[in-house]
């Protein structure tokens, strides 16, 4: 229990926005920047923006989730921290699970906050905004899990940032389909399915990520 608390404190100090090393501040600003350029691309037609804005917020959230992946785990592996933890009998799975929770805490709730000004930029109404927020609440754990998983698979590879994007996007399709799909068909179970997929991804990520880190150590 004390191990988990210590790991979590350390992770949160680094991953919360404004934490050491910038934390998740840059992805959030990037998210707002994507929401800002969208009306420039399609024009300021209020009707068109209102009809498509919710989906744009989802795309922006996905892109922002990919942005910080190359420094989510790589630093700790390079410094040999995972080896130290393994020597102390702390499993990779536990470290990854804690990191996943901290990553989501530094990303999900703040993304939901940033979605409020973003919703004004892309011109969606309050009702749609509520659905977007609920969808993000259900979907961001899944996005964080995909992020951790891909980050652990691309540790130490050159050009890992571009590779991470290519690997993460197809895996995120179901989250996007159900999360953004709930906007056009509220009450058809889209939100529940988003949550279900999120939970599945959260359950897979620590084991796949732990296996990936052990594999990277052995070669």
């Amino acid at each position: 229990m004390r191990t988990i608390a210590a790991l979590l404190r350390r992770d949160l100090a680094r991953l919360l926005p404004g934490g050491r090393g910038g934390g998740m501040m840059l992805p959030l600003l990037f998210f707002l920047a994507v929401a800002m350029v969208y009306p420039f691309a399609v024009g300021p037609d209020a009707q068109l923006l209102a009809a498509t804005g919710g989906g744009v917020i989802w795309v922006a959230a996905l892109l922002a989730a990919i942005l910080p992946l190359d420094r989510l785990l790589a630093g700790d592996v390079e410094q040999g921290l995972f080896d130290q933890w393994a020597l102390r009998g702390i499993s990779e799975e536990l470290v990854i699970a804690v990191r996943l929770f901290a990553h989501w805490l530094g990303f999900g709730p703040f993304l939901m906050l940033a979605a409020v000004p973003a919703s004004a930029l892309v011109g969606i109404d309050g009702e749609t905004l509520l659905l977007v927020e609920l969808g993000l609440l259900a979907g961001t754990p899944g996005l964080a899990a995909i992020g951790i998983l891909i980050a652990s698979l691309t540790i130490g590879l050159r050009g890992s940032a571009a590779l991470a994007g290519l690997l993460a996007i197809p895996l995120a399709v179901p989250l996007l389909v159900f999360g953004a799909g709930a906007l056009s068909a509220p009450g058809e179970g889209g939100l529940a399915l988003t949550g279900a997929i999120s939970l599945l991804l959260v359950a897979i990520a620590p084991f796949a990520g732990g296996a990936a880190i052990r594999a990277a150590r052995e070669e």
């Binding site: 590879l157 290519l166 197809p170 399709v173 389909v177 799909g181 997929i197 796949a208 990936a212 594999a215």
Partner: protein
């Protein structure tokens, strides 16, 4: 199965198996395509365009079968550390990707006269497109890992995670599709006439043999690469 973990025994087997599978597969596929092109009557609903079916259906089957092969080989590699399984997974990725691309291309060519457009966001088309991107990702990851001397368990983990996600992606796309448009024409659902079924089965068998032959040939090439590397390193060690 474990007997073939010995590369020597494996190589002596594939030396004759690879050309046999490739040759018989190419002959069967050519027969099936010729059969489908000239000897099958035009379909009542689809007309002459039905003939592309004999390339499209095997491509779709092998595009999906390719990832199934990656998943099975990856699981075998992760569980039993069977070294040839990692090579098999890597070797299956390229033909799988090519057949997925062929499936999308032929589907698009078929869709132009039938649906009047090159692309519709139909459930099956869309999930094949996502599968194609999974192949891109897998190959990019496997190549990056091989180039930088990483563990071959890394692409194997991605192969398994992808295999878990493929049914979810497929279901989600179907749900999304029913949300946005009524299902596209599903002529394929109607029972297939034996006149079409026979050449179709021959085509599936022929292209599957080609797929197997290509996988074995690529495994041989990858194994040859590894052996050449090892020999160079040994020679360099002796010279030093």
């Amino acid at each position: 199965m474990h007997g073939f973990a010995n590369p020597k025994r494996f190589l002596s087997l594939v030396r004759w198996l690879t050309p046999t599978m490739l040759a018989s597969g190419l002959v069967l596929a050519a027969v099936a395509l010729a059969w489908g092109l000239w000897f099958v009557p035009p379909d009542r609903l689809m007309g002459e365009t039905v003939r592309i079916l004999f390339l499209h259906v095997p491509a779709a089957w092998l595009g999906m079968g390719g990832w199934a092969a990656i998943a099975v080989a990856s699981a075998a590699f992760l569980v039993w550390r069977h070294p040839l399984a990692a090579l098999a997974a890597r070797a299956a990725a390229v033909p799988g990707m090519v057949f997925t691309a062929v499936c999308l291309a032929t589907g698009s060519i078929w869709g132009r006269p039938t649906w009047g457009t090159w692309w519709v966001w139909d459930g099956r088309l869309t999930s094949m497109l996502v599968l194609l991107f999974l192949y891109f990702g897998y190959l990019a990851l496997a190549q990056a890992v091989a180039r930088e001397g990483g563990s071959s368990r890394i692409p194997a983990i991605f192969g398994l995670v992808g295999a878990i996600n493929i049914p979810i992606i497929n279901r989600s796309v179907v749900w999304w599709n029913s949300l946005h448009q009524p299902p596209s024409i599903t002529v394929g659902k109607s029972a297939i006439d034996p006149q079409f079924l026979a050449p179709l089965l021959v085509a599936v068998l022929g292209f599957s043999l080609v797929f197997g032959g290509v996988v074995l040939a690529r495994m041989r090439a990858l194994l040859g690469d590894i052996q050449a590397d090892a020999r160079l390193r040994r020679k360099a060690g002796e010279a030093a």
